[in-house]
Symmetry: C2
Subunit: 386 residues, 2 copies
Amino acid sequence: MSEDKTLTMVTCTAPANMAVIKYWGKRDSDLILPINSSLSVTLHQDQLKTTTTAAISRDFKEDRLWLNGEEADVGHPRLQSCLREVRRLARKRRGGGDEDAAPLGLAYKVHIATENNFPTAAGLASSAAGYACLVYALARLYGVEGELSEVARQGSGSACRSMFGGFVQWHKGERPDGKDSVAQQVAPETHWPELRILVLVVSAEKKQVGSTAGMQTSVDTSPLLKHRAEALVPERIAHMVQHIRERDFEGFGQLTMRDSNQFHATCLDTFPPIFYLNDVSRRIIALAHRYNAHHGCTKVAYTFDAGPNAVIFALADTVAEFVEVVRRSFPPAPNGDRFLQGLPVGSASLAEELLSAVVLEPVPGALQYILHTKPGPGQRAGAAPA
Amino acid sequence: MSEDKTLTMVTCTAPANMAVIKYWGKRDSDLILPINSSLSVTLHQDQLKTTTTAAISRDFKEDRLWLNGEEADVGHPRLQSCLREVRRLARKRRGGGDEDAAPLGLAYKVHIATENNFPTAAGLASSAAGYACLVYALARLYGVEGELSEVARQGSGSACRSMFGGFVQWHKGERPDGKDSVAQQVAPETHWPELRILVLVVSAEKKQVGSTAGMQTSVDTSPLLKHRAEALVPERIAHMVQHIRERDFEGFGQLTMRDSNQFHATCLDTFPPIFYLNDVSRRIIALAHRYNAHHGCTKVAYTFDAGPNAVIFALADTVAEFVEVVRRSFPPAPNGDRFLQGLPVGSASLAEELLSAVVLEPVPGALQYILHTKPGPGQRAGAAPA
């Protein structure tokens, strides 16, 4: 970055990710250190991404932030943590700790504008993409390179997993300072080319209990969460890594569903209990089990984050049939011409016996839309606008 | 019982019970031995009871059974277990094991007719009342006295808790033969005279996954259930006994709600997951928490068995106000003149600040009716019809 221009600006994009072994609960809420490791699939940015532009200029009077076009509070503690950490790394790497040798830009105020192409705070990990993008943009702006997941983690825990493409593990780490609580790629997005992802958007409403407050209450009150984190997750992580390495959809899908259910079980064991699944979510779960039972194997696997929307994993050759099953089970509203978004889906005709075994009591209008995507790469630098 | 009459007949009644520390999972499914101890409140028979008439006669050609007026399969293995056990005890007590000295009636066929005054298999423990009543009726018919909860347990696990009034613990026991897996009264129904119970009937539909199949799947697949049974329930039982002895509604109510939530959490951790709560159940849970939060203490406590109906515990001086809160939150259908059943409920007017804090988004018609009852006595012998 040259520092003699009046304006230095970078634009980056970052992906959302969907955990298949869930993160729920912090052991340190300042540093955002989790009580267990987690593992996620990075979603392709062609369908879901955050775009962030960050600029510094000697003409800027104060740090400012815009979220989806509206100015927001730049003083948010987590945003400030990320800013402070990136600036600290910039000083350290330029000057070996000598503040005088730091780049001139560090004295300038920053303007940040960020946009999602998907609904905010609806259980689609928008904060993960947002903080991953923010940290990457700031790092490029200040010329910082290397391991950044530890910084992104301090914005939003799951953001550290959006720093990589494909299949990503966030190691819980053991150190009190969090230096070993970092994300690591298990396999790149090219590893499992047949894997597809369907986001079934049940509701774009903001969730009633945010993740931060919810997981704190769970840590404080749920004995089942404590047991899960200590005794159950380590083995699940090891199994999931193996299923991914072997591209074993049966094992991957089964464990993905079990872990989603267990996460929501710990929410219910929280006091007062937290419910993220609603009756439509439960209908999708039952539908997936009927569909798999009909086929005699795991053809689709659901997972739900802190919201009612389902994320379905399937192999490419299952997508057309399952999408048709979903369309028959949740017939779109008459004006639902955008019911299917994202990657193209072929047409499928359903056998009568499949229909009668799997499609029971259709509920018109229960789904807003389906988004078809696949695993994708980590964050990317875009061209800086002129 | 004299054996020279052509017909010997007895009629008994038995109560339902509602667990506050839940039973879910067997370690032996033939003997019905549970993986954890449980604790329940016996509901008053003035509102919920099973009535069973059993008769023997030399003129009867075969054993026969009627449930709510319709003939049913008398060959059901659990019913046969109860019949066999009571007849075995009759032989043993009459003759010290000598079969020849057994009462003549043991050679006769039995006719059994049983009726519930509440919906069957809707999460209201109808099988508990049913088997408790059956075993008591058979025991009186054959002149068997003494400990019968071990026999009732072999009909339906929770039936053993319906053999006593008030507050009842079912000890899980340690022996493989189940001789120590018996029910015991913790306190009689007179112990806590202010305690009241409201059954909020959400749906009288039969449940989708029966308890027997559901709990077996949970034992086979839920690691959280295993942990709950082994590590969490023993302490909860001890605390619950203490709360009951001290008539500590705050402690009793808190633990009742937590244990209900944890039971449903283990259902969700089951694979495939089991859902007994629906969106109306969840609204009732949220309403109870808002109501308690408004009052700054635990005024009402919910618990849900294997179905969507809520059972609410409260002290007598809370009932009128909370019933009005429920009526405002779930306005009865226009023909809902039987909305409130059971013990009388006084009228209450709600303060404006209570209404605005607690009654949000009413859902008309979501509740069928409310049944007001209280803890009651164990099974009773009725007058034998002429």
